[in-house]
């Protein structure tokens, strides 16, 4: 369950930013989860809940909404755009697990469906990030 490490990062960051902005109350937090990493949302939610119970201060689970960001790849050689979900079917479970831990490892296992190049950009859907924090001062 390495999701815990990322959940911890999210919670720490929200609390730190809320502190910086002098928020008395956190109203809503939007967390984006890139599809590439195939994070299990249940596991991720469970981890955040546990971490918050150990001291989430102004933050609680019902304030947090998670959204999955579809992963799009773009070839730097031929310009092709495609969905990671279309490449996923060609990957072994082992390979997609490696990508789960370090998303950039996609360059090892995924190829451009048009020209076969490993030289592509991850245009969207990489990693876990905080889209916004709404609060009251």
């Amino acid at each position: 369950m390495h999701e815990w490490a990322l959940a911890e990062a999210v919670v720490e960051t929200v609390l730190k930013e809320a502190g910086k902005e002098n928020l008395k109350e956190i109203v809503r937090v939007k967390v984006m989860v890139g599809e590439l990493q195939q994070i299990e949302l249940d596991v991720f939610n469970f981890a955040m809940e546990n971490i918050l119970q150990q001291g989430g201060g102004a933050l609680s689970m019902e304030k947090i909404s998670l959204e999955v960001d579809k992963c799009v790849l773009r070839c730097k050689v031929c310009g092709e755009d495609w969905y990671y979900s279309d490449s996923l079917q060609d990957l072994s479970e082992e390979d997609s697990e490696a990508i789960h831990f370090v998303p950039e490892v996609a360059h090892v296992y995924v190829r451009c469906p048009r020209c076969g190049s490993p030289d592509f950009e991850i245009t969207s859907g990489r990693g876990v990030w905080i889209d916004y924090i709404e609060g009251e001062k």
């Binding site: 490490a5 720490e12 360059h107 090892v108 296992y109």
Partner: protein, 242 residues
């Protein structure tokens, strides 16, 4: 759009006493050999030691040490498995022997990911094997790991020394602690490096000779510890770093 990973990285190192990045600008000067052997020597002296291979394009420490068949455990993150007493972390757990043709920004992203999810246990020393150059990995290690110190390697070659001086200028300018400079692969008497470096204000740690039998020891920690390379390195670090 905030990247939450940046906020946990220093927490991941909170139980690590000393963090040493083995670097030196140029490739092939013995950075990986030094990093791997240094980790072995420290473990032999019963220091709790970790080794992190950040050369994602040309990872080498797993080949030098002969690491095989181990894999990190998932436990609120990733816990590096032990190899010969060393907590060992490398991208090769995830790439196998396949090439990883990553661009710099992606290497940067992968480094941030690994730093954010790896949970090092209590360590006296964490040794980081750096790739050649002063690109993304060096800039990120400086930016993200607040307490990192650099151990610089060079060879007597003029080419290597020119590159070293460039890296040293950057590190000095940024106020990064440089433990000192190690001259590796010496084949002639006397040290050109020592005198060259006098004016640079960085400690010269000592020299390690070119070791013609080193190659035969690769892949075996026991044999590596018996090489002249390891003996010379051990003497230098015992006198100057421990």
């Amino acid at each position: 759009m905030m990247d939450p990973r940046l906020n946990v990285i220093n927490k991941r190192f909170q139980n690590v006493k000393k963090i040493i990045a083995v670097s030196g600008g140029k490739g092939g000067i013995g950075k990986s050999q030094t990093a791997a052997s240094l980790a072995l020597c420290l473990a032999k002296h019963n220091y709790r030691t970790g080794l992190l291979d950040l050369d994602f394009c040309g990872p080498s420490t797993h080949v030098i040490l002969g690491v095989e068949g181990i894999y990190p455990e998932e436990e609120k993150g990733i816990v590096p498995p032990k190899f010969n007493g060393i907590s060992f972390m490398s991208i090769t757990y995830y790439t196998g022997n396949n090439p990883s043709p990553l661009r710099g920004s992606e290497i940067s992203n992968a480094i941030i990911e690994i730093l954010a999810i790896t949970r090092w246990e209590d360590l006296d020393f964490l040794i980081i094997d750096m790739p050649p150059g002063t690109g993304d990995p060096v800039l990120d290690v400086i930016r993200l790991i607040k307490r990192v110190e650099f151990l610089l390697v060079t060879t007597p070659s003029r080419v290597a020394q020119e590159v070293l001086k460039r890296e040293l200028k950057v590190l000095n300018e940024l106020g990064i602690t440089v433990i000192g400079i190690l001259e590796n692969m010496k084949t002639k008497k006397g040290s050109q490096v020592a005198s060259e470096l006098l004016n640079l204000g960085v400690p010269f740690l000592g020299s390690i000779d070119f070791d013609y039998d080193l190659e035969d020891a690769l892949g075996s920690p026991a044999k590596l510890l018996q090489t002249d390379f390891a003996a010379q390195l051990d003497q230098i670090i015992s006198q100057k770093c421990l």
